[in-house]
Symmetry: C3
Subunit: 296 residues, 3 copies
């Protein structure tokens, strides 16, 4: 009988029923002025009245998949084991674009397969085998499983062609939180789509060349250069014609522009007295150069 139960629940049984979280997070570009987010929450609570729904953000810039991928990447790992993350920036809703459920040892993800899970995939790959800017698709790393969402049994009918969040993603997330195995939602897929991830380059004088990844609410300029990419603390950072020398440990370290490794392990330019982004005139995609002083 025990064996049967293992067979019935499929690979998902490795969570154990108790290990699936009732926590469902939402990350969308739906904004706060309409009822789109609320309709999703209503659908979820109708299926699992015990679900604990947490907003990550709904002010992703409309259709900005890369921004959603970044914001998700800085939050998901802080949630309890088995949390279900619904991520929707979906310019292709209603078209033939694929939607997926991704199951990893730590969390579940429900989203269109349009690159939203790029940074989750990157984190799941071993350091020596991470996706680069030339890849737009990648096999699932070891330990992860995914299905395409094709089985209409769990959807909210009639399905609006313009609002899969309410009619497909929300009910699937709710059923996941009730421990429905992912195989119920569609057939297994082996790859997920990736956004091109700009790679760090090495300049002719040994400098590291990266980019602005995100500008946060405080105007902190967050780059794609990570702690592990910094060979020393004795660096000069160039961005937008400005130079910042050395790494600080906190925002009060000086009254001018300063650089530090922020709370998601990314090199970040900040300004104690205001917005570093406004001071520099920085925007997402701008080049950031880090020279080690040891390189002369």
């Amino acid at each position: 009988l025990q064996e049967l139960s293992v067979l019935v629940s499929g690979d998902s049984s490795r969570w154990g029923r108790g290990a699936v979280s009732r926590v469902i997070t939402l990350t969308t570009d739906f904004g706060y002025g309409d009822s789109y987010v609320a309709a999703m929450k209503g659908v979820i609570l109708g299926i699992n009245p015990q679900a604990a729904i947490v907003d990550i953000s709904h002010s992703i810039e409309p259709q900005n998949i890369a921004q959603a991928a970044y914001v998700l990447s800085t939050a998901w790992s802080y949630f309890p084991q088995g949390t279900i993350h619904v991520v929707i920036v979906d310019p292709g809703v209603g078209s033939a674009r694929r939607a997926v459920v991704l199951e990893t040892p730590k969390a579940l993800f429900v989203s269109p397969d349009n690159g939203l899970l790029t940074l989750v995939m990157k984190d799941l790959c071993p350091p020596g085998d991470r996706p680069d800017s030339s890849e737009d698709e990648r096999p699932l790393p070891s330990g992860a499983r995914a299905v395409a969402i094709t089985n209409p049994r769990y959807w909210n009918h009639p399905v609006s062609p313009t609002f899969h969040g309410r009619d497909i993603f929300a009910p699937i997330a709710a059923h996941l939180s009730l421990n429905t195995p992912i195989d119920e939602f569609g057939e297994v897929v082996d790859t997920l789509r990736l956004l091109p991830i700009p790679q760090l380059a090495l300049g002719s004088k040994g400098e590291t060349i990266g980019h602005v990844l995100h500008i946060d609410h405080f105007g902190n300029v967050i780059t794609d250069i990570r702690r592990e990419n910094l060979r020393s603390l004795d660096v000069v950072i160039e961005i937008g014609g400005r130079q910042v020398r050395g790494l600080s440990s906190c925002y009060t370290d000086r009254d001018d522009l300063l650089a530090l490794v922020g709370s998601s392990d990314h090199l970040e330019i900040a300004y104690r007295c205001g917005s570093a982004a406004a001071t520099i005139g920085a925007k997402v995609g701008d080049e950031v150069i880090v020279r080690s002083c040891a390189d002369g």
Copy 2:
């Protein structure tokens, strides 16, 4: 004894104690910068610690009753049976304006009686007997009951004349979620106030003339023309001097302005690459004309 209990709990007994939801939604024009919404949540949780409170929206334009009525109408039916919807846009707070609890077979509503429930009422009426623009009050449709909120027993005292959300509506919603029958809150009323609902007109050449009802976060232009008002898919839509030909099924259908029936069954003008409202210069109330190509 059983009969007695039915008598005591009145019509509310048809829910049965288990059928009342612990879900309470909030729709207000209170914004996100003050503590008004939080104070309401604190009061609710003090009365029912198990309440699950969901924000529909708090960025209704200050005192825009029609906008709140629309946003509510697109969300409430997606919530579980017995959900309690608190809706507050209340320019008359503290004056003699009436406040009500409305009980319907699917949901409960708590709000000032100033037209906020117009579209809920419209949905409750049979298609042949819906309110038109000349009505500013209407008898409750069959299956619905309402009371005026007059019994101070359940209020938070002292009641601030400027914040009934915290001192009257929040505690009543919390007590409703504990299954207190609506008769406890005041005397039965037979009518609710309505906002004028602009009616669709029929032009001299058979065209349908409607209006812009709402502009959403993406700039989608949502009209008061519904799926049932479209006699064919072969239509030309005129708005703000622009013409859109044919109905699309999703936002990616073309790279120009397009029209489709959106997720709330309303005809909607969208623009894949940006805001249709900005492209057209559309605003709420603007005229929208739909010509059937069959009409020549």
Copy 3:
């Protein structure tokens, strides 16, 4: 054995285990566009899956400690007994600034010790012994206890020097909601830091001189003059070169600027047809003068 349990749980035992609320509120300047707030919620739910987390506001102006102190002061007392309020506006994060847990008979507070709890402290002091503008630190009033947050045992490691909200305040709030006594988090402290609180002045003709404390979402101008400071209802209020005569009881009382005692017992200038702040050109800190007509 019973005595032992009292000893173990320390003074916190006066709550009784059942009296600690599972409600945790968050007030920050983190905004809604990043994942900072969500990461805190993930950490809390990982420690106490039953926590009920309520946002007070996350749109406090970056680094505006006084604004956060005000917004908190208008909300916290409406939450259930034993609610845990996390308040973070923390320009000094990562520096030597102290962080504290404050325990009062009604609620618990977790925050940097930078003045955020000034108005909570003021409310705890007896009317005759309230802090004035010259105090920047004050002994804890009777019935309150506080500890400095120094014991790393309950923190989320590694602690980011720039995000104590996620790595220190969130886990401590979660453990408090599980009834961990505050003594666990660090050593007892006897004083908390205060912001200067502007005092009401008495003019040469008996008039009361106060200030604009806050401008709310509706443009209502909220002052630091409270109900108890008004000697009569027959007053003339001067602000920004405008005069308002008499006190109204609600916003519909007249179609011009009006004054009333608002929902937090503060004198407030409002404008039925729009924003009083915009009409007057008022901003936080502006002088407000109240003359009693009896003073001639």
